[in-house]
Structures are given as C-alpha cells and as structure tokens.
C-alpha cells in the first residue's frame, strides 16, 4: 500500500510539473502573440495593406494628329472586340463554334485562344477577336444568352482616315517591342492593349500624343482578382495632346491624285516660314493594317511591290537631281566670277574630255547659248564648261547652301542625307580618286549627286526666298529657329530666277504650258529634270537612243521638277519626282504646277491678285 501511495504522490508531483510546463508553454505562446500583434503590429499592418491594395493603370486616350485646318489625320475609333472569361465557360468548343458563325476563327486563332486560357488565371479575359464590324458585333450581342462567359467589349483603337495619304508622314502605332519596353519605363507600355508610335509623327511626337497614365486604387484578393474599385482615382490619367501638322490634307490628297499609279515623292512648302504644306510619298499604303497587326500575305504584297509603297520616298528616297541641279552650278559659277551671263558657249551636242565624249540631251546641239537660255532649254554642254572652270568644291559648297547633302530634321526616322560627292567621298566610297569626268556628270545632276524630294523643295524655296536659308518644319508649335542669311548676290539670283521663269512661262522653255497653274494670269518659275537611270552606250547612241516608252518601266528616266509661285512674289516652292516618269517636262512639271496652283487657291490667291502682281512688275 505504501508503494501505491508513493506512486500516487509521484503521479501528483509529476502532474503538477506537467501543469507548470503546460502553463509555461501557454505563456510562451502569449508572449509570441504580444510580439506579433503589439510590437510588430505596425509593420504587419503595412504588409497587409500592401497585400490588399493594388494600383491599376488607367490608359489615357491618345492625342489626335490633325492637319493645319484641324482635319483629322490620325484619331481614335471605337473598336469592337469579344473576349471570353474562361471560368464562366462550360463548353469551350461549343462556344467557339457558335462564335465562329459570326466571326471567322482561324485554326491559328483557335490555338492562340487555348494557349491564352491555359496561361492566365481563370478570371482573366481572353481575346477571341478584335476589330469587329458593327454587324458582327451586334450579331454576337444578340446571341449572348446562348454564350455564357462571352463578353462583347468596345474600346478605342487608332484610326487613320485619309486612305493612306499620310501613312509615310503620320506613321502608325503598334504594340511595343521588348526593346521599347526596356528603353521606356513608362508603365503604360506594359498595358496589354497599349500601342506606341512606331513610325512617322506617331513616333516622333509619341511623348506628347501618349499622355500620362492614371492610377486607380483597387482591392485585390490573393489570386489578383479585383474585388472592389476605390471611387476616387489616386492620379487621374492625362489625355495625350493633339498634334497639329503644317500639312494641308486637301492639297496632299490632290497631289496624290495627280500621281495616279506612279511612284515617287512630292513636297510643297512656304518659302518664308518653311512650313510644309504637302509631303507625299507614292504609292500609298494603308497604315490601319499595321495597327491591327498586318497579315503576312499583306506584308508580302507590300514588300514585293516594285513601286515599294512602304518606302518613304519624299524623305528617304535619293535620286539624281538631274537638270534641277543646274541652278546650283550656275550660281556657283556666277559667284566664282568664272562666267559672264552674256557669254555664249557653243553647244554642238557633245564635248570631248580626253578620249571621252559627253553629250547634250539635244543631239544636234543648241548652238551658241548663254546662261539664261542654257537654263531655259536645259543645255548640258554649257554646264560641263562651267563645271570645268570652277571645280566640284565650289559646286558642292553652293549645293550645301541650297540645302542639299544634309538632313533637314523633321523628327521622322529614315530621312536621307543625299550626296554632294567630292574626292574624299569617292575615295572613301569607291577607293578611286575624283576625275574631271565625274565633275561633268555632277554638273548636270547625274553621276554621284543624289538628293531627296524634300531637299529639292528646300532648294527651290531658298532660290525663291533669295535671302534666308529656309528650313522645313512639319509640326505646328515646334520651335522654329531664325533662318540664317544665305549671303548670295541678289543680282545673280535674279538671273537664275528669270531663267526659271522662262522655263515655265516663255515659249521655248522646257516646261512652258499656256494656261499654267490654272489661275489666269498667275505665273510661276521652275526647272525640269530628267534623271537617267541607265548608262547609254556609244553603240546605242549611234543607232539612236531607245525611246523611254520602248524600255521596261524600271529602266525609264525619272521625271523631276522644282518650282515656285507666284513668280513675282514667291509664296510656295514645290518639288516632285516621278520614278521612271520619263521627261521632267511631263509628269513632274504637271504635278508641281497643279500643286502650286491648288496651294495658291486655297491661300486666296486668284486672278485679281495675279493681275496686281503683273501690274507691279
């Protein structure tokens, strides 16, 4: 019994011991509770708030791009889409089949939808199709009772309404590339449907057009599902600014019409301010296709077109300026004092340099010819002679002062420099030294000289302006620097301008057309150019140069023209290159004449104004 008692006592003792131990553990747990819930409570409260709240980016509407008169060149259009919410779909196959009655779903789209579903949370909307027509969209809306989990949505997408007339200049938007996202830390770029400017003004003015993101405070659960939206946005989204261009959409469309099916480029600018009124590259392409993701077939078609619609010819295309370069050579000669305007040079149709023979476009020659007539009739022999007297350096110097061989930055990617070639350039490029023959070719704008339509327009504007080195600009509101003075003898310029007037307005001029610009009594000045794109062999010359019409399209001459109007009080200068458009007197002169006429008309210039100018003369 004593053993039993011992045992009872042991049990009681040890039970108490255990009780104390248990109490200690409870105290330890309570201490831990105190530590977490009192001492560290503040930290954990912050963490809990971080868990709970999220900020959702609010995408601002993109600014529009408008022409000088407020006509929309790029805007935002209602876009209809259908999405599905995977967790609410009972039978995906049946749902897709039913939707495909309204919108075609290709096997690729089908695969993409399934991949998106498997990669995202079950409540994340997955796009079925976008850019739906209103008909398809409303048909799906009517069918909704039988399509649980399918959500028709309308949003905004970029829209270019002008049939591609501005595609090369305005550009287009697209989904940001990985590099864009790395470079630009704006949170907007990571929004699923956000697009940034990829080319043209869309790209150069992207910062202004984009606006800034707003932030919306939302309560999210552990899976990221938004439970509630906080009513007041933390930061309101700021809409993108509208960007006004100096361009005139009416004039641009008119110019595009003049080109018909031809390719090339044309520019028209204000000779005082440098505002570009038209900047056109032909043929056109539809920028809208790039916004919605262009199909491979469309892209192939675009790239295989020999007329290269996607290529920005007016800013990036370089062409031999041909005879339009003759003004530069003439001014350089006058400034150097090596020619006398009254001096006559005899044109026999060709001239010799060593054992090489250089031809005039007129096979039988112009006979004795002075400066005025050599421009009016575009004699080549005269300019070979001038070039030989002054050398390439002085020609290039004048070319640069006229705006050639340099980029006139408009902010648009893909502008070309053109080429004013010299010995250093030839050494670098071909590893050969400059020869006098090269100067001969350059003097008539052939050989190595290259210029863009924009540069030629600048050249015409500077000749027309006479004093200031006008620079082109495109966006209204952009800071325009004061133009430098060109420091060219006005007497010399008057000689050139007078000759350019004769080209257009005096019988015998290469571009003379009675009735001119379509405004009675209005007069213009200009210069034709016919850019040879193939070599003509001596044998061919002997047997008669093949007529352009008998050549394949891509071997025909480029047609060029530069000009300005009104002759007496220059207002606008324009340039045009029609690729393989044959002689400059034809296609290009017609287009420039039409553009100048239209620009003047829209500026309020009429017959009465033209008569006043004539009276002043």
């Amino acid at each position: 019994m004593s053993a039993d008692n011992d045992n009872v006592q042991t049990f009681a003792r040890r039970t108490i011991l255990l009780g104390i131990g248990g109490g200690a553990v409870f105290c330890g747990l309570a201490a831990r509770m105190y530590h977490l819930q009192v001492r560290q409570a503040e930290d954990y409260r912050t963490l809990s708030e971080n868990n709970r709240f999220n900020f959702r980016t609010v995408v601002p509407p993109r600014g529009r791009i408008l022409d000088r008169n407020g006509v929309q060149l790029a805007g935002n259009r209602q876009d209809f889409r259908v999405v599905l919410i995977p967790e609410r779909i009972d039978d995906l196959d049946a749902t897709l089949l039913r939707i495909s009655k309204h919108v075609p779903i290709s096997p690729e789209t089908d695969a993409r939808i399934r991949k998106d579903i498997s990669r995202n949370r079950k409540f994340t909307p997955v796009l079925i199709a976008d850019h739906l027509s209103w008909e398809a969209f409303s048909a799906i809306n009517l069918d909704l009772p039988d399509l649980p989990g399918v959500l028709p949505l309308s949003g905004e997408t970029r829209d270019y309404p002008k049939d591609g007339t501005f595609s090369h200049i305005v550009g287009y938007v697209g989904t940001p590339s990985r590099r864009d996202i790395e470079k630009d830390k704006d949170s907007l770029l990571r929004q699923p449907t956000f697009q940034i400017g990829k080319t043209g003004v869309e790209q150069s003015a992207d910062a202004r057009l984009r606006g800034s993101a707003g932030r919306l405070k939302v309560e999210v659960n552990a899976l990221g599902r938004v439970v509630r939206e906080w009513p007041e946005a933390e930061d309101r989204a700021r809409s993108g600014e509208n960007v006004y261009l100096t361009l005139d959409s009416d004039l641009q469309a008119y110019a595009a019409e003049q080109f018909e099916d031809d390719s090339g480029g044309a520019a028209l600018m204000d000779v005082q301010t440098g505002e570009l009124r038209a900047l056109l590259s032909m043929p056109l392409y539809d920028a809208n296709k790039f916004v919605s993701g262009i199909s491979q077939a469309d892209l192939d078609k675009l790239y295989k077109d020999p007329k290269k619609p996607e290529y920005n010819k007016v800013l990036g295309g370089t062409y031999p300026p041909a005879s339009t370069f003759k003004m530069v050579v003439a001014m350089a000669g006058l400034e150097a004092g090596v020619i006398n305007p009254a001096e006559q040079i005899r044109c026999t149709g060709h001239t010799e340099l060593g054992n090489r023979r250089f031809h005039c476009w007129k096979r039988r020659g112009h006979g004795p010819i002075d400066l005025h007539n050599s421009i009016k009739q575009s004699c080549d022999i005269y300019f070979y002679e001038v070039a030989q007297r002054i050398g390439m350096e002085k020609i290039n110097d004048m070319g640069a002062r006229m705006g050639l061989g340099q980029v006139h930055p408009l902010g648009i990617a893909g502008q070309s420099r053109g080429i004013l070639p010299d010995n250093a350039w030839k050494q670098r490029r071909l590893g050969e030294s400059w020869r006098t023959g090269d100067t001969f070719n350059a003097s008539i704008g052939q050989g190595f000289v290259l210029a863009t339509p924009l540069q030629l327009c600048v050249m015409a504007a500077r000749i027309a302006n006479g004093q200031k080195a006008v620079q082109p600009h495109l966006v209204i509101g952009d800071a325009v620097p004061d133009f430098e003075m060109m420091d060219i003898n006005v007497g010399h310029l008057d000689l050139i301008r007078d000759a350019m007037y004769a080209v257009c307005e005096v019988p015998g001029g290469t571009a003379y057309r009675p009735g001119g610009m379509g405004i009675p009594k209005a007069q213009m000045a200009g210069k034709t150019g016919t850019g040879q794109v193939r070599g003509i062999s001596a044998a061919e010359r002997a047997s008669g140069v093949i007529k352009n019409r008998d050549l394949p399209w891509k071997y025909r001459d480029h047609s060029l023209f530069v000009g300005y109007a009104p002759y007496q009080a220059p207002r606008f200068a324009a340039s045009c290159i029609v690729e393989h458009g044959e002689s400059g007197a034809g296609r290009a002169a017609t287009i420039v004449r039409a553009m100048l006429g239209r620009a003047l008309q829209s500026d309020g210039f009429d017959e009465a104004a033209a008569k006043n100018l004539l009276a002043d003369l």
Binding site: N7, G22, L29, R32, M33, L36, Q37, A41, N221
Partner: protein, 371 residues
Amino acid sequence: MIKDKLYQLDWFVPALVTVIGVVGVTMIFSSTGGVWTAGAQQHLIRLMLGFFLMVGIALIDIRVWMGAAYPAYLGALALLIGVEFFGVSVNGSQRWLDLGVTRIQPSEIMKLAVVMALARFYHDLPDRGVSGPFGIAGALLIIAMPVVLVMRQPDLGTSILIIAPGLILLFLSGVRWRIIGTGAVAAAIALPLFFTFGLKPYQRERVLTFLDPERDPTGASYHIIQSKIALGSGGVNGKGFMKGTQAQLDYVPENSTDFIFTVIGEEFGMTGGLALVVLYAILLSLCLYRAVQCKAVFSRLLIMGISATFALYIFINLAMVMGMAPVVGVPLPLVSYGGTVMLAVMAGFGLVLSAHLHRDQELPRGTGSLL
C-alpha cells in the same frame, strides 16, 4: 440510474467544449466569406453530434472502456494497416480510409487508442515494474507500432501527437529520472539521424523553411508569412468580425482548417486570441485536477493522456501559425473545420468525463495482459 449519472456529470467540461466549438463555428463562418453552408453549418452539426457522443461515452462505465482499451488499440492498428493497402490519397498523403458512407482518418482514432492502451498497460503493471525492462519495452512497443505505420502515410504531425503523449504517460507512470535522462540523451543523438533519413523531402523542406523563412518566400514559407501578416495586422483589438482583409481576400490558405487561428487573431486581435487560449487553459487545468482526483491508475493516465494530446494539438497549431514551428498540418481542436478530429476530441473528452464520473469505482489490477 442514468438520471443520477447525468446529475453527477462534471458539466463544466462539456460547457467549455461547447463554447470553444461555437468559437469555431463563428470563425469558420467568417473565413468562408460569410457563407453559412460553406462549413460553419457542418461544423455546428458535428459539434452537436459530438456533444451527444461525449455525454454518451461519459455515461458508460469506465470498466467497459478499460476492457475496450486493447481491442480498440488492435482495431485502430488494423485500420492503419488497412490505410496502407486501401487508403485514399489526399494531397500526396495517404491518410484516409473510405468506408463507403464516410471517410475516416484511422490515425485520429489511433491517438485515443494509444492513450487507452498505455493507461491499461500501466494499470495492470505492478508499480515496481514501471522502470523495469518489461515496463519500458512494453510501453515503447505500444507507441512504436502505430508510429511506424503513420510515418509511412506520411504524417509528421500525427506521429508527434502519438509519441509525445505516450512519453508523457511514461513520465507520469513514475519511470525513474535516470532512465528518462538516458532516453533524452539517446533521443538527442537519434533526432538528427531521423531528420536526415526518416523524413520525406517535403517534410524536411518544411522544417528547413521554418528555420530559415527566406529560403523560399513564395512557396512553403508564403503560408507562414501570410499567417504572420494576418495576426500582426490584427493588432490588439483586431479589424472586426468579417473585416479581416487577409482572411476575406484569401491571402492565408487553409484558414478554415489548420490556420483558423489567423482569422481570430486578425479579426479579434490579441484580445480574441488570448481569450481563446485562456478558455483552453481553463479546460486543461480542470482536466488535470480531475486526473489527480481519480483513484485508479487507468483513469488517471487516461485523463492525462487525453489532456496531453489535446494540449499538444493546441501548442503545435499555435506555434505553427505564429511561425514558431514548421507547418505540420495539426488542426486547432474544436475550432478548425474537420470531422474526424472533432469526433475524436469529443470522444476523448467523453472518456475523461467517464473516468471522472466513475472515479470511486474500484478497478482490479493485473488481470489483463498485452496478449
């Protein structure tokens, strides 16, 4: 007769158990987003069924339960072996046995059965044999057999809940301190070996994650971090019923089962958490007192074993939720959603009540044997 027993029943225990159970119903209601049928209702039904089971068991003579000790143990062992062959896997662990009408977790029954068997074993063992080789070996065998089976499932939490109360019963039976000391040293040597060779990789990962939570912030320790955020952000007074953002927005996984304490801590703060702990402490103190009042070794050890198991549930669960112990999957008894645990706990308290109700009953010693 039954009326007398009902009158004599220690009603404090069922009352406390019910209060704690109702806390469970309330918190499950909150953690399931206020949907009554998503768990709270079920928990209340189980609580009521458990209540009747508890009282029913309490009224049955303690001699019946003493006689049932070994058969219950052997039966539970058979069920565990059944799990080995016919068990249903849930989350990679094979713990369930499908009986057609319902699924049960034999390991929960085993926790009670081990306590009963050990109590019976010591009851029959002469006092001086407690520290003898037969006493030690017999007790360890009773503990080891189910543990081996449970570890194969694998279930670290249940293994601990079988081993620890078993060892406590060894301690209470009066095993000499010298032997306890030797055992402790042996365990200290064996534990690292067990950690390396005895645990499944995911169990080892949990222990390592507990030791260094930065190891894997989104995986295993995500649970602990979110749990601590819930508790800590609750502060002293909590965010209010149904207003805990961690709970309502599902940041803490399993918060109607093992992690239900985070809902209490977040919505009722430290005040609520401590209140629940105090309720548990009162219940356990009461049980300790009842144990000492009993004459028979079986009754005393039965009450102590069941109380120890109950206390360990609480300790391990709270330590786990507060980031003091690895995530082992031990529920908070009576509060966490879960049927088998609820019934096992209720049955356990039924046995406690029965032992106390029949405390003056003479129980013959030395008549039973393990075989």
